[in-house]
Amino acid sequence: MHPFTIPFMAGFTMMFIVLIIRYSNWFRGFSTENRKRIAGRMFTRRSIHALNEIFRESLLHLKIYKTNPILGYMHMSLAFGWFLLIVGGKLETWYYTGNFANPPQYAIFFRFFHPVTEATGIHRIIDFYMEFSLLVVLSGLTIAMVKRIRKQVAGMKNTTRHTLTNRLALTFLWFIFPLRLLAESATTSIHGGGSFLTGITSGLPFHPAVELPLWWAYSISLGVFFVCLPFSRYLHIPTEMITILLKKWGVEPELKLKTNKGLQAFEIHSCSGCGICLDACPAIGVGDKKFQSVYFINEMRNGKDHSKTAELCLSCGSCQQACPVGIQLEPLRISARENLNSEMRFNHTYLPSKMILWRETTDVILFTGCMGRMNPRTTQSMKKLFDEAGIGYVHADEDENICCGRPMVLTGASEQAELMMSRNRDIIHSYNAKVLVTTCPICYKQFKNSYKLNIPVVHHSMYINQLMEEGKLNRHHSNLNFSYHDPCELGRAFDCYEAPREVLKRAGHVVALSKEKEKSLCCGNNMGTILLERENRQQITDKTLMVLSENNPDYIVTSCPVCKNTLSQQSSIPVRDIAEVLTDLPEIKQKTGERLTAMRESHIN
């Protein structure tokens, strides 16, 4: 082999060694259960599904396409184009030599070794294919370069700031393909051969003396990039594929988060730092400290202090929804909080336990939660609706209530939430009911995902919708316009977008919004954190209200007590819970409380 291939070979080998060391370290962190899962499922259909996903997401980047087609094309052309080159190179050399197991540098610098292949049909096709693939990569590269200067081109408002290693890797990555084109063009210009692309570029006046230096430069760029890869964000390229496999095999996150152990290590290093989560974050530009997921992951990856980035997030789930790699960002944050707040100890042993002597039979158990106490109107309305529909109910937490436990989980105190949960479970199981209805999406998520109750759990918007579908509740269509705010713990967490809208459509008109459903913004006061300054939360609320007020609706409606409480403090348009809307109709405006209207008219105005 020619000495100019040494930088590439050295870089490639080094990358390979580093990757093996790092990956085996991470593998060593797998629990026995996870190892069993991998061993048991490796040779099943799951692997084929994983390969399909790798093809769709790691190479074609279909999810990014949905975010923005230009951004999607950029990622696709770089990844898939390069993949085409690698596959093509292998096939080309295999075909040419008849030996499949030729060394990688032979394929990569094939044109240098064999500038002119016989001009038979198949060679022409291969040459054309190779140059076409290169052109695909170069087109993506051009977009990437333009995006660096004008990010709006790719539909992005915010992009990530990268570390020095990342920028070094990026620079050499950018050099690789133009240098390949130049080197191949020089060779074509001197020796002939080539296809349509070098056919054009070889027309440039190449001096024979520049050919070898260009190949050297190409090889060095490759080498440096490969050396940087395991230490830069480009580690995501190999890692993402392994992560997809691991997830398809059903590997679960390790109980305690360590950034260099188990599935979490693979997830953290699967982040490409693309910054799509930045535009998705409702808290972008809020506060002094940037705590968006890409920064959080970056800090964990580099072993930096990530306490602030882990704690400040409101856990609305927008970034997780938008992440093209599908990293489970919220569980990662909660695990990080568990590590950070392991010192925090609460004592809830004073909570009374319930002895069950007999079980009262009823249709519905209503659970309104702590936030229900902040919104008595919602509770009152829900009870009115039950009465109207002839549904028997018990209000489980009417006098005394125990928190559902989710706020504790969100601060990272999952273990301590257990006691509260078991007490609540006892209360719920002390009734003989058909369903548990909760007016709070936060409680709903906790009950649904973590309680293992003996009865189904539904959110009140779903229950109301069900009652309406069954004809037990009826409302005339009014001429009121509602804009509906999707609570994150109901919308993104459970894809429950239609039930509340169906309810509102029966009572009036639901206006379309520029950001709604899976893209809906956070109200600014999720239970996710209490550490984000109130002022910063209020900024988020302001932005959200701007969207909700877009078409100047008569009412802003939501189905979460926290959202309602937060939005109503700042909104100039009245904010109502979905249950309140139904009990207030038809003359909702006049019915905002007779005394209240009277007071407003006589004194406030």
Partner: protein, 355 residues
């Protein structure tokens, strides 16, 4: 050249007193009021702290004084905008009426905090929960008591700082007067129902004015009113037409629960208007979240509004103040306006002739 005219926007205590003072200095006044009658918030009160002075008497004597040849009162006129033109201001109303004047005093006062925003206190949900203003109306018989007439010893609670010193609703300020007002109302309630049990839930008690501290002492010693340091966490319905409240007694470090016949929310002061300032005009708008009271040009020149020559502000439109302070501020502003008009070159001769 004509005699100078001053427009006063808002005929509450500040506007009325400024008008009277200016008229005494031989200056013409256009006094605008959006309600049917002048008097502003004062017309809703029964008695005044700290001396239990009858609010009606004070209001009547003030209104009598404005029937002065120099004062022209325009009621049910809502001012929407003022515009500068050749050293004068054009005042436009909602009905597109226009008035020209040489100076403007903004005395738009305050609104009471909308207690429905603190839904956890149950205002508008449970009939036992009322505002401090509604209580005044119960004192003067314009409103029914929220509990049955048979109850001889009603239990009442007063919640301080509702919508004041509360970052959640964006009102970071102290409304100043609610502390002493709650004390006054509690005493008055005890006078009407001597067997009543009354508790006040407070954060701090700020008895800054003359006679306030004495009144507070009197409430404790003579009327046995309980003062509990701690905010209410919630109010919920309770059996037998009562409202159940939960709070924490932070001095005793103990959670506290009570069943009450009446819960009074001491609603704070919020700005009534927001001045949207443009180059040559000021629009009067409904305040949005966090748009606070009018800022004077500086704290030591508190009567002058920003750098707009001829625009002054008096009273609670600049922030919470007691009635006594408002009256003094209005009189001081009237003097500043007089001095301003005197300085205005065109008016010098006229002023010399008249004085």
């Amino acid at each position: 050249m004509q005699q100078p005219t001053v427009s006063i926007i808002g005929a509450g205590p500040a506007g009325l007193n400024a008008a009277i003072s200016l008229a005494k200095m031989e200056i013409r006044v256009n006094l605008f009021e959006k309600q049917v009658k002048p008097g502003g918030q004062l017309s809703h009160w029964h008695t005044l702290f700290p001396d239990m002075y009858d609010a009606k008497t004070l209001l009547k004597s003030t209104i009598n004084e404005i029937s002065h040849p120099h004062i022209k009162l325009y009621t049910t006129v809502n001012i929407r905008q003022i515009k500068r033109q050749n050293n004068q201001w054009i005042i436009s109303s909602d009905g597109n009426q226009e008035f020209i004047s040489d100076a403007v005093i903004i005395t738009s006062g305050f609104n009471l905090f909308d207690a429905t925003k603190k839904e956890e206190y149950g205002y508008g949900i449970y009939p036992q929960v009322i505002t401090s203003l509604e209580l005044e109306q119960m004192f003067n018989g314009r409103r029914e008591w929220p509990f049955s007439k048979d109850i001889e010893a009603p239990k009442a609670g007063f919640v301080h700082c509702v919508g004041s010193r509360d970052t959640k609703c964006g009102n970071n300020w102290c409304s100043k007067v609610c502390c002493v007002k709650a004390v006054k109302q509690a005493i008055e309630f005890k006078k009407q129902f001597p067997k009543a049990e009354v508790s006040c839930f407070y954060m701090d008690l700020r008895m800054f004015g003359k006679g306030y501290e004495e009144l507070y002492m009197k409430a404790q010693v003579d009327f046995n009113i309980q003062f509990i340091r701690g905010r209410l966490s919630e109010a919920s319905p309770s059996n037998g037409n009562k409202v159940h409240v939960k709070a924490e007694d932070t001095l005793m470090n103990r959670p506290l629960k009570q069943n009450l016949d009446m819960l009074v929310l001491m609603v704070g002061m919020t700005p009534a208007i927001w001045l949207n300032q443009h180059a040559e005009r000021i629009d009067f708008e409904k305040p949005k979240f966090k748009q606070g009271f009018i800022n004077p040009v500086e704290n030591y020149q508190s009567t002058i509004y920003q750098n707009t020559p001829g625009v002054f502000a008096a009273g609670t439109c600049k922030g919470p103040a007691s009635l006594i302070d408002v009256i003094q501020d209005a009189k001081a502003t009237a003097f500043e306006v007089f001095a301003y008009l005197k300085k205005e070159k065109q008016n010098v001769e006229i002023l010399e002739k008249t004085t």
